[in-house]
């Protein structure tokens, strides 16, 4: 189906363009402005060129939280995408059971980020939380506030709890779009369950998985509130990710020059990785 070519369509897009320009281009230009100047007050500012960028690129705080961030986002994707597909395959296809499953799955998604942190803060405590208490009574010494490994484990588990449903819902929707004829053909061919998954379901899930991978990557890469509420980024700096490092720099210490440069680099990394995912997953579409 070839779409007609008309530039009148711009009238329909104009409101979106104006709105996003106001809330994205102006702030982004402000950040660029910060990142190349040394600002003392409203009237005293010096142009410093790339000085802040050089300073930030050699900053060990950025390096450490960048490494942590990549490990975190990588683990999130490796756990949540397969688990989400699995859950979607297990869900009943129709009937009241499917509605109940959809509602329960959607529930964690609607819990505010800070409340997610609060829930797990309570749930994981050894004295008042079921999870921490259960682990400790099994003989596992678990304390997320003191032990960096436990803090990592809790932050990951929290993210899996919170966001796997999104992947599952997307995959569920993708699975429902497969016509029954495909399954009938597979039955005639006596295809195994694995073959049905590999050659029918997975290819059909590609588009929704692309959305899922991109959304999960972007959001896990911007994670701020949950670890902040859970441990404040601790113990030490062990769960301090990029957003928190940036917020500390911009609002805590008010180093807006370096923070501006940091922001630009941060944004570019997300753009680059998202583009890589997008290209890798669509390169053999033949479009």
């Amino acid at each position: 189906m070839i779409k007609p070519y008309t530039n009148k369509a711009w009238y329909l897009v104009l409101p979106v363009f104006a709105l996003v320009a106001f809330s994205a281009i102006i702030p982004l230009m402000t950040v660029v402005n910060y990142s190349i100047q040394d600002i003392f007050d409203a009237n005293t500012r010096y142009f410093v060129g790339t000085e802040w960028y050089r300073e930030i690129l050699n900053d060990t705080r950025l390096h450490d939280s960048l490494v942590r961030q990549f490990i975190f986002s990588g683990s999130v994707l490796l756990i949540e995408i397969p688990l989400g597909i699995l859950v979607a395959l297990m869900m009943p296809a129709r009937g009241p059971g499917s509605v109940v499953c959809l509602l329960v799955l959607a529930l964690p998604l609607l819990v505010p980020l800070n409340v997610v942190g609060t829930i797990w803060q309570i749930f994981g405590r050894a004295d008042i939380g079921l999870f921490g208490w259960a682990l400790n009574s099994l003989g596992i010494n678990y304390n997320y506030a003191a032990n960096p490994m436990d803090a990592w484990f809790t932050v990951l588990l929290m993210d899996v709890w919170h966001w796997t449903s999104l992947v599952a819902l997307l995959c569920y929707s993708g699975l429902r779009a497969i016509p029954d004829a495909y399954y009938q053909a597979a039955r005639i061919d006596r295809a195994s369950n694995w073959a049905v998954f590999r050659f029918i379901q997975l290819p059909k899930l590609k588009n929704v998985l692309l959305i899922g991978v991109l959304l999960r990557f972007m959001d896990s890469f911007m994670i701020y509130t949950e670890p902040f509420v859970l441990t404040g980024g601790g113990p030490g700096n062990s769960t301090t990710f990029l957003s928190q490092t940036l917020t500390k720099m911009a609002v805590g210490q008010f180093d807006i020059g370096p923070a501006g440069a940091f922001s630009i680099i941060y944004f570019l990394i997300i753009l680059l990785v998202s583009w890589l995912f997008y290209t890798a997953m669509t390169h053999n579409d033949g479009k």
Partner: protein, 266 residues
Amino acid sequence: MNIKKTLGMGAYILFLLLPIYWLLIMSFKSNQEILGGLSFWPEHFTLANYITIFSDASWYMGYVNSIYYVSLNMVITLAVALPAAYAFSRFRFIGDKHLFFWLLTNRMAPPAVFLLPFFQLYSSVGLFDTHIAVALAHCLFNVPLAVWILEGFMSGVPREIDETAYIDGYSFPRFFARIFIPLIRSGIGVTAFFCFMFSWVELLLARTLTSVDAKPIAAVMTRTVSASGIDWGVLAAAGVLTILPGVLVIWFVRNHVAKGFALGRV
């Protein structure tokens, strides 16, 4: 095979519900009971934690503020995203692909990056500490997503319907409101659900752009931490109350969302 599936699903649902159940029963306990020991059911059932919240305006106004800016955001997002998604799904025009991709890049912008510029921008136009400021700021990530989802749904409607309507003498606005929007009801339901979700759960921007008048509940909740320790009971009750609007929203749009998801066009 089916038993295995049911068991697996049951285990996953248990994993999702257990932490929420824990929060819920905790909100009905007094602090002494919470710190006194572990129990699966409140022994001395109390509503004191909820009374604390509902008898204090600075507490419950947090909920009102949050709901206000989230609804505002939903309305603005749908109002601008519907025509734009229609344009992307039906026409080609100069720069359409670039514009679409540029919209999506805004979804990738970390809120932390926009924190300070937003603060300055909204302060300079006198919108600081208003609901509209938070609603506009949240459009940054909701509008691109809404356009993306709606475009998918709209492309599923055959174009013959548009053409038939025009031949029958419908003008574009009338066709759009009377014929097209009812056709993609489920899609709008799903989109509204996502808009509500992402705006309701966001804290960083909402907290930075407000101080008193439009302070969201998420920021009010930090009050439970004081020098004398954390008020666990009230914290749990406040947490439960933030989950409730979400539950209501899913309940009301459940048919649309189930249908939207089942159409396989997200």
